[in-house]
């Protein structure tokens, strides 16, 4: 006999369902008067936030090519200097004017989501090598049984992307572009494909 390890098991995931908006973005679905604003809505940067202003927008697209109109997307990112506004950030203090987290429901007609934010700085990988600037995304919706985790890198960071420790370990190089947001001016477009030839890379983190 040995001592029991006594670890608990994570609670199983269940789909967010079609009415995730009620709980997470009630004002968006027209239920007003309970929360002043929807958590994570609105611009992620204020006047004092350091960094280059960008808008990240895109759609989540199913296996028939149809954009999901009931998805909810959350974003988590570092500040302009590569620091996270989190107690687990021990390398330095993040910009107090940048929370770094946002939440956006897909538009009920077009399926588009968008985040007005800043471009993040580089964050080191676990071995100290720099990772190229990226944002972390979490996608839930009706029909998605467990939240999907992915990253978006930036098309204007070709050199950094080429050296990125995460991108460079992806065996099927043809899939790497599914993680790169296309930057045109201040807008970065990132469509997330759940299936098909261009299926986005999702991570088991």
């Amino acid at each position: 006999m040995v001592q029991p390890l006594n670890y608990l098991k994570e609670s199983p995931s269940q789909t967010a369902g079609p009415y995730v908006h009620i709980g997470c973005t009630p004002n968006f679905t027209g239920i007003t008067g309970v929360y002043d604003t929807d958590l994570g809505s609105g611009p992620m940067a204020n006047d004092k936030t350091r960094g280059e202003r960008i808008t990240i927008k895109g759609r989540v697209i199913d296996g028939s090519g149809t954009p999901l109109r009931d998805a909810m997307i959350e974003i988590w990112q570092a500040d302009a200097d590569g620091f996270y506004n989190s107690p687990s950030e021990t390398r330095g203090k993040a910009d107090p004017n940048f929370f770094g987290w946002g939440r956006c429901p897909a538009d009920m007609v077009t399926g588009e989501f968008s985040f007005e934010t800043i471009k993040p700085g580089s964050v080191p990988f676990n071995d100290g090598r720099p990772m190229a600037p990226h944002v972390t995304l979490w996608i839930v919706a009706r029909g998605i049984n467990i939240g999907l985790q992915t990253r978006m890198y930036f098309s204007d960071e070709e050199e950094a992307n080429a050296k990125d420790p995460v991108l460079s370990r992806i065996e099927h190089r043809v899939r790497v572009p599914t993680l790169i947001g296309k930057r045109e001016g201040d807008v970065v477009t990132f469509d997330i494909h759940l299936q098909g030839e261009n299926e986005t890379i999702f991570f088991d983190i």
Binding site: N6, Y7, L8, K9, E10, S11, P12, S13, Q14, T15, A16, P18, Y19, V20, H21, I22, G23, C24, T29, I31, G33, V34, Y35, L39, D62, G63, S64, L68, D70, E74, W76, A78, Y84, S86, P87, S88, E89, T90, F99, W101, V123, P124, N126, T136, W138, A141, G143, I144, N145, I146, L148, Q149, I170, L194, Q195, E199, F202, F203, D204, I205
Partner: protein, 246 residues
């Protein structure tokens, strides 16, 4: 948040066997929305072991009271009064302090307050159907609501959802992010629900079924249901924070 050294360890690998797979044809909507390629394994980096922390000051006085938070002054939502309470723990059994817990549900008749909802059950003018709270230093949370009704949904021609409450939980790292559903002890619909049955492991399903908790039931007022939620655990960093070369 506790006033202790922040935790920086990586998270335990997620046990995918206890979670539903992406592709579950019994739940038809998953068919076109399930990624088909293997997930790429990535040990968490700073980008995933960090996460947003929400302050207690964002919570309104009635955010955890669904009986009154949408009701007209002096009125209440219709239905069986219940309290749902429990702890947010991690896989080490440690209470997760300062965790934001959001919840939403149908009303007593099984009807949601949503633009796209078409079920013929009546809307309760005094019930919004959502709330939130932040766990205390021990990971404890509690809210008051009415017991939601079961309702039919378009999947099979006669599929019904068991009574349930949706939960969205933030831990301390973005990799812990979780959405799940709580069911009620004794509901026969649990075991024939195509969404419940996306979870392959019966023991795992049972961990989503809240028991009636008579100890915390308030006499002549409301029954209690106890629902603990477990988020991923994280490693000790005892041997990981040394300077290079040591």
């Amino acid at each position: 948040m506790k006033n202790t050294v922040p935790e920086t360890g990586g998270f335990f690998a997620r046990d995918r066997e206890i979670h539903p797979p992406a592709y579950t044809p019994g739940y038809k909507t998953s068919v076109l929305r399930a990624p088909q390629r293997a997930l790429i394994s990535l040990e968490g980096t700073k980008s995933e072991i960090t996460g947003p922390v929400f302050g207690h000051n964002m919570i309104g006085e009635f955010d955890n009271d669904l009986i009154v938070n949408y009701a007209k002054p002096g009125e209440m939502a219709i239905g069986q009064r219940i309290m749902v309470h429990g702890r947010v723990l991690d896989e080490r059994g440690v209470g997760v302090a300062g965790a934001l817990v959001e919840f939403w549900q149908a009303n007593a008749g099984g009807r949601y307050r949503h633009k796209k909802e078409t079920y013929l059950a009546a809307i309760d003018p005094n019930f919004g159907g959502f709330g939130r709270c932040i766990t205390d230093e021990n990971g404890y949370y509690a809210f008051r609501t009415i017991k939601p009704g079961a309702y039919p949904w378009p999947n099979g021609v006669n599929d019904w959802r068991p009574a349930h409450i949706h939960f969205s939980i933030f831990g301390h790292g973005f990799a812990q992010r979780l959405i799940t559903q709580m069911y009620f002890e004794g509901d026969p619909l649990i075991w024939i629900c195509p969404i419940v049955k996306t979870i392959p492991d019966e023991e795992a399903i049972k961990r989503l079924v809240a028991p009636l908790d008579m100890n915390n039931t308030v006499p002549m007022d409301m029954r209690a249901y106890k629902f603990d939620i477990v988020l991923r655990g994280r490693r000790s960093t005892f041997f990981e924070n040394r300077k290079e070369g040591n």
